[in-house]
């Protein structure tokens, strides 16, 4: 490929110094991710997936190695510059949604724009937030608070929030971890649609079923990459949903 990678990791390490033993959560990961990719990071619990994602998301600093995001050496940035990178270049979707409670979906989605260095008028903020909510199919729920929304809907709000500053990169740490299978497929549908529109997506999951919706699978073990391969039989969310419905229909008819 001729294009430059969005993410370039070079021997990234992360060691936690807690108590007597040092925990080497990530032990030297090198990885290039190019624009338009849709990558699943997999691995068993404790293999370092979240630690890696947090570093890619500029939330955490590696203790060794280099990380270039969009050509910028993130390891050299200070706190404020990291905050700006998170704001402008990255959209992050968390496993636990991490929405502000008692705050409407619309206001949750508006929040990242409040910290945008380019001033966005209040009017434009509302407009963009609405647009992002429509993109994830929640246009009608803008005024709802998180506790009035289902898990899948909350995750959609979180995705809308991640998209609202128009990042080049969407990161998601177990976006379907708290969701049932149908809702998971719906969320993957949203991701596939976004990816088709050109957004690069990196997603952590430990479910193979979910990983199958992506284009590339990276498997970690003990803080190292053990497998990095293209997804063979890629699932398409629309088809999977249809199949699921048919199965449910069949169960209903049988009973």
């Amino acid at each position: 490929m001729q294009t430059n990678p969005v993410i370039k990791l070079d021997a990234i390490k992360k060691t936690y110094h807690t108590g007597e033993v040092d925990v080497q959560a990530v032990r030297g990961i090198s990885l290039d991710i190019f624009p338009g990719e849709f990558v699943a990071i997999m691995g068993s619990s404790g293999s370092g997936k979240s630690t890696l994602m947090n570093m890619i998301g500029a939330l955490d600093r590696p203790t060794g190695g280099h990380y270039w995001l969009d050509g910028i050496d993130v390891s050299t940035l200070n706190r404020d510059q990291l905050a700006d990178v998170r704001n402008e270049k990255i959209g992050f979707v968390f496993q636990g949604f991490n929405l502000l409670s008692r705050t409407s979906a619309l206001e949750n989605v508006e929040m990242p724009m409040q910290y945008n260095r380019q001033r966005i008028t209040a009017h434009e903020q509302v407009e963009r937030a609405h647009h992002a909510l429509e993109l994830v199919g929640l246009g009608e729920r803008a005024g709802h608070h998180p506790n009035q929304l289902s898990g899948g809907q909350q995750q959609r709000v979180a995705i809308a929030r991640a998209l609202v500053n128009r990042p080049a990169l969407l990161l998601a740490d177990e976006p379907t971890g708290n969701l049932d299978s149908q809702t998971s497929i719906e969320i993957m549908g949203v991701f596939q649609k976004l990816n088709e529109q050109g957004i690069t997506i990196v997603m952590v999951t430990h479910e193979l079923d979910v990983a199958r919706f992506t284009k590339r699978m990276v498997i970690l073990r003990d803080g190292r990459i053990v497998t990095d391969e293209a997804v063979a039989n890629r699932s398409v969310a629309e088809n999977e949903l249809q199949r699921l419905r048919q199965e449910q229909q069949a169960v209903k008819l049988a009973s």
Partner: protein
Amino acid sequence: MRILASLKIAERALRRNKMRSLLTMLGVIIGVGAVIGAVSLTSGATKQVEDQVSNLGENVITVFSGNFTTGGMRGGWGSAPTLTLEDTAAIRGLPNVVGISPEVRDRAQVLANGLNWNTQVLGESPDYPQIRNWDIALGAMFSDADVRTLAKAAVIGKTVADQLFPNENPVGQTIRIRNLPFQIVGVLAAKGFNLFGQDQDDVVVVPYSSHMHRITTRTFVNSIQVQAANDKVISLVQQEITDLLLARHRSKEQDFTVRSQLELMQTVTATSRAMGFLLAGVAAVSLVVGGIGIMNIMLVSVTERTREIGIRMAVGARAADILVQFLIEAVTLSAIGGAIGIAGGIGFSKTVAYLKDMPTVTPILWIVIAVVSSAVIGIVSGFYPAWKASRLDPIEALRYE
């Protein structure tokens, strides 16, 4: 980040915990309210006293017989027989003296119109209304000629006029003082109560000569009221009077007392200044207590909202954004507290003033001080919690349960 957006976040956060916000503000509310209320009332009282002091007349020096400072003579102000009409004449000759009136006082039963009334009868010179800055409402003051001829002329106060001549013009009528008929030549304008709560209008003024020869038989006067040319020469004139009388009386001990209205005024202002310092101390203490309350709650709030802080940082809030957000929240708390306190304090003092019929002065300076100090309190007490919030690590904050 925009201040407006921060204000919105702060407003929402405070509204989410209405009761707690209110309780947090209580310290500032009570502190500011108490100070504003107390200052309104005391400065109202001070102003009243000042008005009354200036009501005594302009640039007035009073010479009392007797010495205020020697124990043995105490209680003898104005009654010790030391001041004479000759003293008065001598003082009149001093430069910078523009008016003088020897004063003799007595209480007497007065009769007119078939009604009688017990009142104060003063012997004064025709300078008296000018010295006391007291207008004649009807008629005129008696003259120097009246003094020379021991005329039976009288000027009466408003209260006496109301008592004895309920529905008529007293001027030209006769009033009997100790059974002597005096002709009323004038009625003094209403002056109200003095510093000691006495009705100044309950008075009959006659020429001092008539008083000393006809009503009583006295050779000494109670006091001498002297009017200086202007406020700059008051102390000078006071000194000259002292020197003159010391020389005239040839006594070892000073048997008279010279007091100026200026000194009275200074006493009053000194008292009110002391009161001001006291209030400022109370204010400072209660605002510090209020500030500690705000700091406490802000610390609780930062801990409670650790996750929110983490989320905001994760989507790009800089440390400064978080700092400003919590600072604004603290300042909003104390500013609203201050505003409620000011309104409450004014309301309280107005209510008391209304019920007790007292004057109040809305203390603009103190309101400004209250506004500024509650803003400062907000910033100072909010800074540490806000700084703590801004130093949080995004990952750890997000992980906080």
